[in-house]
Symmetry: C2
Subunit: 428 residues, 2 copies
């Protein structure tokens, strides 16, 4: 069993560079959560938390044939990012995903390929509510042959909200334990109106008095399961709001939690563009320059470091000794500078370490291999062969999601302009 409160639970971030509430703040929220449970020993009783992800949608609003939860972002399906965001939260024990029978095999492949853990699959229903109900049934103890156990609190989230943070998950779980139900909300972006039957304005709602109901939501399991068991077929067919079911059938007024803009739902094609840009921005904030330990290279490396620091938050220069640690810390961008060697030895070493680390399973890793060559003493033809060689490397490692670029700096004397060219390449 993992320790509770979650603030003290091992490595802070399993997922790459996704911000989360950490340390003191998290511990404070967690002890609030423990204190709220009747008879719980403060600071050590972890509530059993599971999550249900309805993922049976057809994505018709996206205007593309692939359901949006399976649309690729940097070649990985959207739902895998959402699973990653949930599974890196150590105190979520089980994640139940509801998918259509048609997509069941595809979903199994995604789980295997991206090495997701603790995921159970159930068949989705024809509506969102029916899919969630199927997920809850799988968690309820009264199901035969089920490896899952009934949680105290269940999170309901959307497969198409990949940027959910640990802090908001903790807040809704804490509030659900106290109030029975809780959900994230956001201010309305547009005014909401009610049309009359003839397609004209009947009335408009005061924007300040209303909120958009977003995800995640959390419930005491018994509350939401009871609500789903009691609710009508009409609710299951046409309803959209779990908080409403808890209110209508269990008289539980959900606590509303202000969420961050990150909670938005990927709905339209433009949202896929936005998600891709956000992910790219996050994984490109850190870069590592690898040098072999010779004098001039250090010089090149540190000047390159200075230039990169103007653009990026985290720039590291290493001679290779602490490379393993840097890879463990999930750096996805490398510039490998070879001054003295002509056979890409350093680059090869880096590529081997990257392949062993499995770092590139979740995100593409970019490696720029730079070779400085003496224009006057090295014959051109030989160097062209070197470049062709790196093209072959590149083809090979691309299969493992490593993008290798070769840059041959063939010049009597390298100059600042060339370093600038490397910086430009990093940002292209």
């Amino acid at each position: 069993m993992e320790s509770w409160p979650p603030g003290g639970s091992g490595p802070a971030e399993a997922g790459p560079r996704l911000r989360g509430l950490r340390g003191a703040d998290l511990a404070a929220s967690a002890s609030l959560l423990s204190g709220a449970g009747a008879g719980a020993e403060a600071g050590c009783s972890a509530p059993a938390v599971a999550a249900v992800l309805p993922a049976g949608g057809s994505g018709e609003r996206m205007g593309v044939p692939t359901p949006k939860q399976f649309c690729p972002i940097l070649e990985r399906p959207l739902i895998s990012y959402t699973l990653q965001a949930l599974e890196r939260v150590s105190w979520i024990k089980d994640i139940v995903v509801a998918v259509t029978g048609e997509n069941m095999e595809a979903m199994k492949c995604i789980i295997q390929r991206y090495q997701h853990k603790g995921i159970s699959l159930v068949e989705s229903g024809v509506t969102r509510h029916r899919s969630i109900f199927n997920g809850l049934k799988a968690l309820a103890e009264d199901q035969p042959n089920c490896r899952l156990s009934k949680p105290e609190v269940v999170i309901i989230h959307d497969a198409v909200r990949p940027f959910v943070e640990e802090d908001v998950l903790l807040k809704v779980v804490t509030a659900a334990k106290e109030h029975g139900a809780a959900g994230a909300i956001r201010p309305l972006v547009s005014t909401v109106i009610s049309p009359s039957v003839d397609g004209c304005l009947d009335h408009s709602l005061e924007r300040a008095r209303h909120r958009a109901s977003e995800m995640p939501q959390a419930f005491l399991f018994d509350v939401i399961y009871e609500a789903y068991q009691q609710c009508s077929d009409y609710d299951l067919e046409f309803g959209t709001e779990c908080l409403h079911l808890a209110l209508k059938y269990c008289h539980i007024k959900a606590k509303l939690i202000e969420g961050s803009p990150d909670l938005w739902k990927v709905t339209y094609k433009r949202d896929l563009y936005a998600a891709e840009s956000i992910i790219k921005e996050r994984i490109s904030q850190q870069i590592c320059v690898v040098m072999d330990a010779k004098e001039d290279e250090e010089h090149v490396g540190h000047r390159l470091e200075e230039m990169l620091k103007n653009e990026l938050n985290h720039v590291k220069v290493t001679s290779g000794r602490d490379l393993q640690q840097i890879i463990l810390e999930q750096c996805y961008n490398f510039v490998c500078v070879n001054v003295m060697t002509s056979d890409f030895e350093e680059t090869q070493k880096l590529l081997n370490m990257l392949e062993e680390s499995n770092l590139s399973i979740l995100y593409p890793v970019v490696v720029i291999s730079v070779q400085f060559l003496d224009y006057e003493s090295v014959p051109f033809g030989q160097k062209m062969e070197n470049l062709m060689q790196i093209r072959e490397f590149a083809k090979e490692v691309k299969k493992t999601n490593i993008l290798l670029y070769g840059l041959l700096v063939y010049y009597p004397q390298w100059e600042t302009g060339l370093l600038k060219a490397i910086v430009d390449l990093v940002f292209s």
Copy 2:
């Protein structure tokens, strides 16, 4: 005075590749509009239409210091895209933009730099409603020293909705002429809820019965001006909805028009990412390969054309004769292949034509200059100098928003792999 209905009004698209309702459909909608005007001669009486754009917002939700309407997308401020979308509609006579005194000079610079026409500036108020009211006052005939004349119909749009199409503008104007007021709506993405004072759920709204009120909206000028003149200070301070004012003060029930997803409002940083991707996608759909008229080149050109056609909708190959026409049709991407010449003559010619055309004022133009060189007969040093020369060109033309890339194919015999490299470069 420009002709009406707008379906027959000269060049179809002044703006680049922004889809719009054209030809027969547009003419049909337009004659509907003409028919609705009392006493109008069908098919020839154009209603006077103006637009008001409130642009006084501070962009606090974006989390960046620049107000969102001035945030750059491909280095051009967002509001310039919105102005472009409105000014390419020939039947909108005047556009009034309300900006803060602080941003007045910046706005003048934007209008000048991007050569916007028919724009008038007024000072914005402290709220959106007050800014719109200031815009309407400038259009009302009772203002002294005003070059603007009172329109029959006024469109109200947001500076941060750059993708508005002519068809939806025509639909709201047509409906406003008939009903007095009209506005675009969209289905709700999230359920809307009403919180109680203690931050818990009071009730949730049935999603199917409500809509998000979007922009553009349009009004008979006299209706909306009357509404603004009569409305209370409370409305002007806290209200968000023009349709509501028309209903409350003039008893006009606005006609609601289903809009496309493109109408969304750039609100958060992710929306800027999305907008940039959408614009990039639009301007990169068309590419032109320029060859000089020698035998082998034709061969290279047509193989390149085939490969590009797998990825792009519009690929043209020209030997340069119809280049002027292609530039006029607003193609933003060029591959210039020089096989026989060694001095980038073709590229230089293309660059001159582009600079004369002013094509790059609104969007960056990308030119990839490819030079095939005989590996065995041309000395390497000389060719390096050529590459350096194109770097100098590139620096020069970048000032006019033309992005020039040089590609030296230095090989005894070019092969398909190298063409693939050009295709890759096009998409990078």
